[in-house]
Symmetry: C2
Subunit: 308 residues, 2 copies
């Protein structure tokens, strides 16, 4: 069957909150806008409680995504549930393909985000957002005076533990290796902390709970038992930026595989922008991704204006 | 009377949406946070309709400011209605003063915004947000197929007219000088546009309407009359960044007087951050200001962590 053909001013790849908000702004510039992705709402829909998107005290990730989608749909945009796996630039036109469609676009804004690395243990998927988390910055305030675990040994994991320790009663860092490897300043702080304890050489092999986390199972006993009670466990073993399409276009990536952009959300490829978790920022939040996308749509508009 | 003394981790100067959202995030990092300014809600409260803050289809500027304020007040922050007119850095501590208080802070985040330049004619203040506007990007979509005026001759005014012309039936650029001075690319587009008309050597001397704009009065007749019917008029004669406090600290400013920051919202002065309309961005929106402030709060947290 022949593929369906689309053409547009702005092709936004990624239907998370960043992509949807970007589409809204692009349409406000009267640009013909298509937003396409395989996970509508994006990874935030995996978060049970969002309390850090300014303006909304508290809502679920799905609720926030729906609000931004409904907002975008006030404008003349096309949202498609497809996975784009190929992209090229022919002259000044971008050509992207999914298994069913071909898109021609004057500009592309990549908002594909990241994928959190998983432990791959039983119970992890089922209890995600219900005691199992991947973002201390998002979810720490829900655990005032609680007992938490952080899985990982990187500086990120250490920083997450420090942040959690400002809220929680006790934080256990559970690390598979000999000793965690934070930046010295963070290592020092962990050492000085009264409520962070490191458990090295230990893996979580199972996560257990009915509807919410009850305990984790370790591969070796801690305090005499492999069963370890936790109110929350934060998996901080890294994220994978979904930047394959950028790679196909020879867009500059950093050592983590994140798309390098400037303050205008521009990459090294003219007309190709990126925003949200996929870019080379240290601090990745829904609100920052949305703003980066909005900025990208403005500079996409400028780019199209200056060419025509 | 002795001034009242405060000390905090983060002093946010400016109580607009950027400052309030920044306070919310700072408090989420468990930083002792004070936000102080003389215009609660900021300039967005002068906008009747906001339809471009992703997540809220349509609300007034005051409603948006209130939502973000209520959100911030879920956390342990202090909001003060005072005007800080003096700041210094003594060692590693910032010291700021209003007429009634003295603040000591480990970090400062400047979110004082800008002031739109005014024509200074009768009716302008009264009809602001009711036919008189200062932001085409914000308010263009409300004027589909309407007759609009843009006051100004800069490239910004030209770009605003081009944007408005994508929505409106007709756009008149009203300029006091001999001829407007847009960038060539924009000048060309205006020349080619079918619905933009330039009226040079002309000033608006009065803005008239009951509750909403009815017409403006020109200082010389156009088409035989000084009374000129418009559905909306956009005053685009520039903005003044409120960066005096930054200047006192010898923070680097650009030629417009805007605070120069990097992608981390950091300035050249350690511990001093800036966000929102006061910084050196081309594209200034509520959503981008809020995100810049949120980013500033994160790097303020890092800065404090690394010092302690």
């Amino acid at each position: 069957m022949a593929k369906k053909n689309y053409s547009c001013d702005v092709l936004i790849i990624g239907t998370g909150v960043t992509g949807l908000a970007t589409a809204m702004y692009s349409a406000r510039f009267n640009l013909k806008t298509i937003v396409v992705g395989d996970l509508e709402g994006g990874t935030i829909t995996q978060t049970d409680e969002v309390s850090n998107y300014p303006g909304f005290k508290n809502l679920t990730g799905t609720e926030l995504a729906n609000k931004i989608k409904e907002h975008a749909m006030e404008y003349d945009i096309t949202i498609l549930g497809e996975f784009i796996d190929r992209i090229s630039k022919e002259g000044e036109v971008f050509k992207a393909e999914s298994s069913t469609s071909i898109f021609e676009a004057k500009t592309v804004i990549l908002t594909t985000g990241t994928k959190a690395k998983e432990l791959g243990v039983p119970g992890e998927k089922e209890l995600m957002g219900r005691g199992v988390h991947t973002c201390a910055l998002c979810d720490a305030p829900f655990y005032k005076n609680k007992i938490l675990g952080v899985v990982g040994g990187s500086d990120s994991a250490a920083k997450e533990a420090l942040l959690l320790s400002r809220h929680a009663e006790k934080v256990y860092i559970i690390y598979r290796g000999e000793s965690i490897r934070p930046e010295p300043v963070n290592g020092k702080k962990i050492k000085e902390s009264k409520n962070i304890k490191i458990i090295n050489n230990t893996n979580i092999v199972k996560i257990v709970g009915e509807g919410k986390l009850d305990h984790v199972v370790l591969d070796k006993p801690y305090n005499g038992s492999k069963e370890f009670k936790l109110d929350g466990v934060f998996i901080e073993i890294g994220h994978i930026p979904l930047s394959d399409l950028a790679k196909q276009l020879k867009v500059n990536l950093n050592e983590k595989g994140e798309v390098k952009v400037n303050r205008n959300s521009e990459t090294n490829i003219l007309g190709f922008f990126a925003a949200g978790d996929v870019i080379d920022t240290e601090f990745k939040q829904a609100i920052t991704g949305v703003a980066e996308g909005v900025t990208a749509s403005y500079f996409a508009y400028q780019y199209i204006q200056n060419k025509s």
